[in-house]
Structures are given as structure tokens and as C-alpha cells.
Amino acid sequence: MKGLSLFLGCLVPNRYPGIEMATKLCLAKLDIDCVDLEGASCCPAPGVFRSFDRTTWLTLASRNIVLSEQKDRDMLTICNGCFSTLEDANRSIKEDEESKEDVNRHLEKIGREIRGDINVRHIIEYLYQEYGPEKIASYVERQLNIRVAVHYGCHLIKPTKDRGLGSFERPAFFDELVTALGASSVEYPDKMACCGAGGGVRSAMKDRSLGMTEAKLARIEETGVDCIVNSCPFCHMQLDAGQTEIKEKNGAEFNIPVLHYTQLLGLALGFPAEMLGIDTGIEKNRKLMDLLDSQV
């Protein structure tokens, strides 16, 4: 198996750097061979840019993939959107000679060429397939005795024919990675429902987008969980910042802490919440930290 290079995307380094730090700390602790990917750009995001021009979308994605090819490493993503773009683009390059030639005509202008000989991984998929819940559990230093609402997000598993992670109707792999940390994953209605952000809907139709988010948050609130855990910084932002936006919009208040899986894993591996960016300015996360502190 090849080593990995870490693809950051836009939202993680530029809005939720705690997720970047958590990822790096966890990878090191788990002895995963992963290096920085210098000079990467936006993946580019599947919903909007692919909607405007497929060639541009495929070419920019290919440039990012080339950076990892040149290190002879597979690419690790920590975002469902980046995974969707890079996975789909990588498959197009591997399976469609015409697309590959087309892209290489553009890449030639910057002196690069895509070969199509690495794989794109998502951290949830990687940890599940290469480590598995039991091995992850063996690294846990702090059992997290909390109730968690797992949010898979759409593009981690769909389209299922391309992702190969099984049916999206009732998947379990992400839940297993959460329970490996001592937490319980609570079932809730509409668990597999979209957060409402994707496809350019958040940027162009904020109110409607938040309508979907509010419906999802209401279902989660009814189950009385301690936090939401996701695998995508775009879902993360929608579910986290979305709570503030919903409150401003119609007064509905949720106060549910939101963590990326790497942050939850980081806590379980013994890192302090401050290093993982869990408490940076996010008041509602205080509740979760108090609960965890009371368990020590």
C-alpha cells in the first residue's frame, strides 16, 4: 500500500483549522504515513464548479491529483465534497482515455501530466478499511462516554455504484468507528438526510438550505444527543454555523455541539480539546467539554 498525502481543501484550513490540526495529530498517533501536499487548490467543489463546466472541474481536480502522483502517494481527503470531486475525477482519468488526453492538453501548459496511477481515499473509508474499529479501539486512551448523532453526509457513500461502500440506506461503518471510541451512536429519524448545503444551494438559496438543516437538527435534538459527528467540513459548517443562522432567521435554538470525526478521535486519543479546535470560540461546545471533564 502506498503512503498518503493530505489534501486539505478550502474549508478545513481556511475556516475550521481545528480539523486540520486534529487530523495531523491523529494520523501521527496512529502511525499513518501521511505528508503535506504543497500547492493544492480548491478540489474544485463538485456541486457548483462541475455544474458550470466539466472540463474546468476535471482539469483543476487533475492538477491536484498530479501533485500527489508526483509524490507517488495516494491522496487522503477529510471532506465528502473533495472526496466526490477527486474520486470521480480520478476515475474518469483512469477509465476514459479521451478525458485524460483532453486534461493533459491543458496540464501541458503548466508542465504537468496526469498518469492516473494513484487512489483517492476518504479518512473514514481509510480508517475503516485499513484499520477497522477494533484496531482503532486499541489506541483509545480516553473512553468517550457520550451519545452521538452520526451524520454521514451524501458524497461519502453516494453514488453507491461508484463508492463501493455498500447501500446508503442503513450504513454502519461510520457508526462503528464512533462506538470504537466508547461513545454510543444514537439512531434518529432521517439520519441519512442531506444537511442542505450541497449543490450550490447554501450559497445561492440560504433560507431554503437552512430549512433542510433545521429539519435535520430538530430530529437530532429530539433524541437528546451530546453532539453531532460528521465526516465533511461543508456539512460541519452547515450544521454548526447553520445553528446560529437559523436562530437569526426564525429564533429556533438548538445548541448542539458539532465535531468532525478527527476531532472526536483526537479526544479519544488523549489530545486536549483546545488543540483540536473544539473550544475555539464555539460556545455550544462548552457543554460537551464540561460533560467530558466530569467523566475524567
Binding site: G39, T59, L60, G199, G211
Partner: protein, 175 residues
Amino acid sequence: MDDKNATGKDTLDKLTEVSTDALKCMQCGICSSSCPSGRHTSLNIRKLVKMAGKTTDILDSAELWMCTTCYNCQERCPRGIDIVEILLDIRAISAHNGRILPEHKEVCAMLIEHGHAVPINEENKMKRTGIGLEELPETVHKYKDELEEVKVLLSSCGFEELVMQAGISGKEDSA
């Protein structure tokens, strides 16, 4: 935006081409009942599937942009129609006919200028250093030559022109 010159025969041909699969639709409605956006917006994906490939009117439908690309419809369609893929292709034809929403143009402008749809800002530079990361991430934000490469590719693909002309002239599809 409603310049009918923008929606000539070539455009209809393109729509027909990308929508062939939609002919298999039997209008069962499973797509619509699986659609989370449809519960909160006027999106009726079954109606869009019905229109696909038949009329250029679909390019002016606001619903085209209400899909979050969650893929539920496509996953559950009993006829195995790649609904989301078709919709994305129709969106692209729409964009090439000058239809890009103002908010989406802004996101495109960010990509063109910074290489990122959501670029770094001062607040987040501080957040980064506060938790022990470098001020700038290992992306094109830090490596200016690499950012230049992105710009070369964007112009090589004609992306800047595509975005600039959108919403202004509605000129004939040049894709």
C-alpha cells in the same frame, strides 16, 4: 437572461443528447418522494426529469439550482436513471448559455482570484496560529507559483470568460 437567442436548436440538441436516459422515466415519483430539497423548496425532480431533453425552458427553471446533489433520487430510481448526472449536465448547458446565479458568480470569482472557493481571512489566520498551525496552510495560499498554475489552467479552460459573460449577454452556446 430570457434572451431566446440563447436557447437555439444547438442547445436543444445538446439537452437531448445529455438527457437520453430520462426517456426511460415512467413517472413513478419515487425520486420526488426521496428528495430532501423537495420538502423545503419548489423542486419537483420528477417534473424536471419529464422536461429533460424536450424543451429549452428547463434552462430557465429556478428549480434546476435547488438540488443539493444528495443523489437520493438517483439511488432509488427503479429505472436506474442517472438523474443527478443528467441534472449537472443540464446545469452546465445552462451556464454556457449565460445563466449563472449572482451568488454562484461570486464563488467563481473567489476561485479565479484565490484558487479557493472559500479563501483564508485574518480571523482564521489567528485561529490557525492559536492552535499551533502555521498562519498559511500548505495550499496555493502559501505557494504563489502554484496559484499561477491554477490561473493558467482556468484561462486555458475558458472558465473566466464563461463566468464573465454569464448573466450579461446570454449569448449563443459556444461550448
